[in-house]
């Protein structure tokens, strides 16, 4: 198994000035956006996504991966210094970090977050490469039935993205697939569901629809309320700790990094459960477990390591199988469609340079955060104190103009607004936007390969389960689906048993986020 090849190719890309510059720009934006109130990784990526139109696919991936890496560290700054986590995955960092900040040990808290983020990124990139290379070589001899099975395996991941109510999540995914089949029939080429509108004849563009549901929906939901993180003093000093302190954080960080990457690689689980499990493990093995929740630097490092490495882990299904491992992953795949690439299981086989670009973006982003993270922490705090209303309104208008600029199409803007309203309802009433995005991205491939497979096998559906590869893959999809339904049911059951207590496991991001806020 050649792991060194892709790693070397990725590092070679760092000799290309455009890739390095874009990765640094992406990291800068990620740090800034992470510190801004109301902006998480999906919105940060959405705002910049239209700019990738100006880049080639390699540069775009490096740029977007760098953004998602840096957003994590950006989020930890308000978590430690304001006590408000920018995202749900920074929730535990905010508890321990803010406790340290109130004791005048802000530097210790931020230092632990910094060390956890940077160290885990290296581990995450390495593990990501080790996991994704075999995946990228799987589908060499696959035809319609096998590809259909792989797409079904990807779709089974939807059960992890459903949130509290599995039925609502599945409905969201079905609606996503329905939207994806607008346009030409994969067999006959005759337009479907176009209602005579020219812009719909070739199908809706994935990017405006996905950004509408994921980013505009979230921004509109945020606009239901008007508040800011308030008037906070920035009159304190930040002194990062030395290597002696960092050395004590190494076990928690390394464990968190490995856990985070593996959990992140399971589609739909993402960074929240990764941080929870990493934190619990660190507490279990810590010599000072009583400090957890009261200002534990081990807890902060483990939490940040889990969350950051989960970002790298999420890239495994996203690039390896073309199945978005998270909401940001869905946007990443959406960005590739701007460059004419088709997200799916053959993605890396057809365009291996995307893997190299992801490695390059990850490495460049990590180096840049490593070099600047300590210096700019306090400056970023000023951003965290910006008026939330201005940030939300500004983000919406940048997204609008960005979507327009990609194809100079008012139709895309209309689609963005329409699906923004849909996304708002989905966020509010528990129809997972991430599940919708998964259906949207995989829908065409599922139908196309199923029907092409049927034509190939002389209309024999039995052939779909008797071919050598299809049965194991479909069984795996079924197992994945059953496990997902069972675990979601278990989490909900536990939550019902302990009314008033949040559980925060099993991919139930809603619960954790509620508490985090």
């Amino acid at each position: 198994m050649d792991i060194l090849g892709p790693l070397t190719e990725g590092l070679k890309l760092l000799s290309s000035p455009p890739v390095v510059i874009l990765a640094i720009l992406g990291t800068c934006w990620g740090l800034l956006a992470g510190a801004l109130p109301g902006i998480g990784s999906p919105v940060a990526v959405s705002v910049m996504l239209p700019f990738t139109f100006l880049m080639n696919s390699t540069q775009a991936i490096a740029f977007l991966v760098a953004i998602s890496i840096a957003t994590g560290y950006g989020n930890s700054i308000p978590a430690v210094l304001v006590g408000v986590p920018g995202t749900a995955s920074a929730f535990l960092t905010s508890i321990d970090g803010y406790a340290l900040h109130r004791r005048g040990q802000s530097g210790l808290g931020l230092g632990a977050a910094y060390f956890g983020t940077v160290t885990s990124q290296w581990v995450g990139i390495l593990l990501f490469t080790i996991m994704v290379v075999p995946l990228s070589r799987l589908p060499y001899h696959f035809l319609g039935p096998e590809l259909f099975a792989l797409y079904m395996l990807g779709l089974a991941a939807v059960v992890s993205l459903t949130g509290k109510n599995v039925v609502k999540g599945l409905i969201a995914a079905a609606i996503g697939i329905s939207v994806s089949i607008i346009g030409r029939d994969p067999i006959s080429g005759i337009p479907r569901f176009d209602f005579g509108i020219a812009g719909m004849r070739e199908g809706l563009e994935i990017v405006p629809v996905a950004i509408g549901v994921i980013a505009l929906g979230e921004l509109l939901r945020n606009m239901r309320q008007v508040y800011s993180w308030g008037d906070l003093s920035t009159n304190f000093s930040i002194k990062f700790p030395g290597w002696k302190v960092y050395k004590t954080l190494l076990p928690a960080t390394m464990t968190g990094s490995v856990i985070g990457t593996f959990i992140g690689a399971i589609p739909g689980l993402g960074s929240v459960p990764a941080t929870m499990v990493s934190y619990q493990q660190a507490k279990f093995f810590s010599k000072k477990p009583w400090e957890f929740g009261n200002g534990s630097i081990e807890g902060i490092a483990a939490n940040e390591a889990g969350g950051s490495s989960a970002n790298a882990g999420e890239l495994v299904p996203t690039l390896g199988l073309g199945v978005p491992g998270s909401t940001t992953g869905a946007l990443l795949l959406g960005a590739l469609t701007i460059h004419g690439l088709v997200p799916g299981p053959l993605l890396l086989q057809q365009t291996p340079e995307l893997l190299h670009a992801a490695i390059a973006g990850g490495v460049a982003g990590t180096i840049f955060v490593g070099l600047t993270g300590a210096v700019i922490a306090k400056k970023l705090l000023r951003l965290a104190l910006m008026d939330r209303s201005v940030v939300l309104v500004g983000a919406i208008f940048v997204i609008l103009v960005g979507i327009y600029a990609v194809r100079r199409s008012m139709f895309d803007v209309a689609a963005l607004l329409l699906f923004g309203a849909v996304g708002y309802c989905m966020y509010r009433y528990g129809y997972s936007p991430a599940a919708f995005a998964l259906g949207l991205i995989l829908g065409r491939g599922i139908e196309g390969n199923l029907r092409r497979g049927l034509v190939l096998t002389d209309n024999d559906p039995i052939a779909f389960v008797t071919r050598p590869y299809t049965l194991p893959i479909l069984l795996l999809a079924l197992a994945f689906l059953s496990w997902g339904v069972y675990s979601t049911w278990k989490v909900n059951q536990r939550e019902t048993d302990h009314t008033g207590e949040d559980v925060g496991e099993g991919g139930d991001d809603v619960t954790v986020e509620d508490e985090a806020r």
Partner: protein
Amino acid sequence: MDRRLDVLVAGMAIVFGLVLAFIAQGLRDSPTLQDPLRSRGMPTLLGVCIVVGATGLVLRRVRGWRQQRSHDVPPEGRPDEEGHPASVVRVVGIWGALVWYAVFLPPLGYLVATPLAMAACLWAMRFRSVPRVAMISVGLPVAVYVLFDVLLGMPLPGGILSGVLQYLPHGIRV
């Protein structure tokens, strides 16, 4: 979460599923190349699944509707922050302003329509300082225009200012 709204959203999903399945029945196929699923197969299946699932969601709420007096049920989506009043009217208003913006962007132009729409949105977000509203809603669009149109060469609608803006460079190539 208000259970009436939950039922309403599920009802909308039922309507969507029915319309999808209904339209699918009228889809044409190629006379020469056909598969057993045909063009209508997948949308019909999806429509039926959506209708069945959403009907289940409606029935779940309707069952025991009278026994439970309050319309409040545990949230399944992302709830609001505690301690801050929420307004759906604000969201509808802002969305309306964005639709207005999309309609009037080509005729008015980016540099006229954006400040107006942005100011309306900021106002809706209870941002009441007129000088700051003016500064932000003019400053950000100008900065974005310079970045997209002047520097990157991604043309934005000129609208009523086209005559003036044509003298600016469109895309600085390095």
